[in-house]
């Protein structure tokens, strides 16, 4: 049992690192996965007898490499020449023979392998823009997160066979289209980093959205996204948006326990702030402060700063809406879309400028742009309610309820509708 737990711990912690090296060396996702599985099977077979090695990750890495060498040696005797391995990069070019020469010193060699950080290559390959987005998400979780296909399927509420199929298609696309296993050149790094950030944030949001699904699985997804965010900061510390994204996720996650109470959705305003995780808020805030000092604020840093202002307010009344409105206006300059405009308008209203805010909400939705977006109607309804314009508020709540798909959210809106109706 102890061994089982040790193996599981290594699997979770070291999966990304080990698989990333194996993919580079073997030139294939499938071969890397096979070697990895065999290595874990070997661990389960030998550790109970010989004990858990002092560096289990290095042991698995060395064993997986040996498995791969054995396999390619067998394949080589079968064929005259070995097929060129696509992912074998010129930076190292180690062949099976070279690895064999040092295999006796496997621990030392394995430690070296751990030092080559292939995880960044893996991250950029999984999140290559030529890969469909749902495939990027699935592959990132499978490869870097070490989640099983079953776990990913459960998290995204799709049948396991569908998820397995999706993973097969993605790996095939990468191999067949010749998507390189490399860190993009400096000229593309910023643009490609955006895709990686998007995928990590989508994983987080999938876990954070208060929709249906196993709560435990959803928490895991958030934890995984944060772990990936930390990895991204560690690997690419020069991009301040990486720290901005990490801070944003940490700050949201710190409040997750307050969001649902007795199966009901609780708004930020009504949440029990004592269940918010103070240490996490402190971590997110200090991360943000240090990165904002670089004076290069991007969308994630700005959203992180907004989340920090909400999280730091001891009571809803202490929320610095004026500052939040300023941050949204800055965000709108970078991302001029109607949803950001709507959030900006709400912040303006909440800072006390009700009429201005309401006018800006209507401007954000001008031309029916947000007509099908339930949060537009919900936000409008909420501001009208606060302005005691109950008839109009009731109408807007009605429209929001029609459009909302999440049962928790619908229930919440219905409650609000009843309360404004009783006031008129």
């Amino acid at each position: 049992m102890e061994v089982q737990a040790a193996v599981e711990a290594v699997f979770r912690q070291e999966h990304g690192r080990i698989i990333a090296s194996l993919i580079r060396i073997s030139g294939s996702f499938d071969r890397a996965e096979e070697a990895m599985q065999e290595a874990f099977a070997a661990a389960l077979a030998t550790w109970p007898e010989r004990g858990v090695p002092h560096n289990p990750g290095a042991w698995i890495m060395a064993a997986a490499h040996r498995k791969w060498i054995d396999r390619s040696r067998r394949e080589r005797t079968r064929r005259d020449k070995q097929e060129a391995l696509r992912y074998d990069t010129e930076s190292r070019g180690d062949t099976g023979e070279q690895l064999l020469a040092v295999i006796d010193e496997e621990e030392r060699e394995a430690a070296n392998m751990l030092a080559w950080d292939d995880r960044l290559r893996l991250m950029f390959t999984c999140c290559h823009p030529a890969v469909p987005q749902e495939g990027q998400i699935a592959l990132t979780l499978r490869m870097l997160g070490g989640l099983t296909t079953t776990e990913i399927a459960k998290a995204f509420l799709v049948p396991e066979a569908t998820m397995a199929q999706r993973l097969v298609r993605v790996k095939r696309k990468i191999q067949e289209a010749g998507i390189p296993y490399q860190i993009p050149p400096a000229s593309q790094l910023a643009e490609r980093s955006r895709t990686v950030q998007t995928i990590i944030y989508l994983i987080f949001n999938e876990g954070y959205a208060a929709s249906a699904g196993d709560e435990l699985v959803r928490r895991d997804l958030c934890a995984e996204a944060i772990r990936l965010g930390r990895l991204l900061v560690q690997l690419l510390p020069d991009d301040p948006e990486n720290a901005g994204l990490l801070a944003l996720m940490i700050l949201h996650n710190a409040r997750r326990d307050g969001r649902v109470q007795d199966g009901k959705l609780v708004t930020l305003e009504d949440q029990d702030r004592s269940v918010w995780k103070r240490d996490e808020i402190a971590e997110g805030t200090s991360l943000l402060e240090s990165v904002l000092r670089r004076k290069c604020p991007g969308p994630y840093q700005l959203q992180g700063a907004i989340a920090a202002l909400h999280a730091e307010a001891p009571t809803p009344g202490d929320t610095d809406w004026r500052q939040i409105a300023a941050l949204y206006s800055h965000l709108f300059a970078l991302q001029p879309n109607p949803v950001v405009a709507l959030n900006h308008a709400v912040a303006v209203a909440m800072s006390g400028n009700w009429e201005d805010g309401l006018r800006m909400i209507d401007e954000a939705g001008a031309g029916g742009r947000l007509e099908r977006y339930y949060l537009f109607h919900a936000a409008r309804a909420d501001i009208l309610r606060r302005m005691t314009r109950f008839d109009e508020a009731a109408q807007a709540y009605g429209r929001a309820i029609e459009l909302a798909t999440n049962p928790l959210e619908r229930e919440f809106l219905t409650g609000r509708l009843e309360s404004v109706v009783s006031h008129r």
């Binding site: 290559h128 030529a130 067949e176 289209a177 010749g178 998507i179 390189p180 490399q182 993009p184 593309q188």
Partner: protein, 126 residues
Amino acid sequence: MRYLLLIYTDENSTEQATPDDVARISRAHSETIEDAVRRGVLVGLDKLKPTVTATTVRMDTSGALITDGPFAETKEQLAGYYMIDCADLDQAIEWAKRIPTGCQPGEGCIEIRPIQEIRKPSGLGK
């Protein structure tokens, strides 16, 4: 790896191209071609005549069904191709970015298709 870069463009719009547009587009092609040749990347390229000249042949059980025009009506039409030989998709994307696809920004696009290598008969024409 070999890639086929398919150039899709809106024929209606290219028909109305001004002499300036034409000059700009052919200059961009020339520069791309020269550079690709210099780097030993270019395998081949061609420009296609417009889709009004296209003929589609479909064989079914009763014989050949021959129709006028391309097999699918689309907003943008296949206008030509480059075939390049480069290391990976990222390099192919970089080349694709340099191929002009229309008169206005945002007009037309390049579809990148990796070539599936097959055994070819000897004595193929050029």
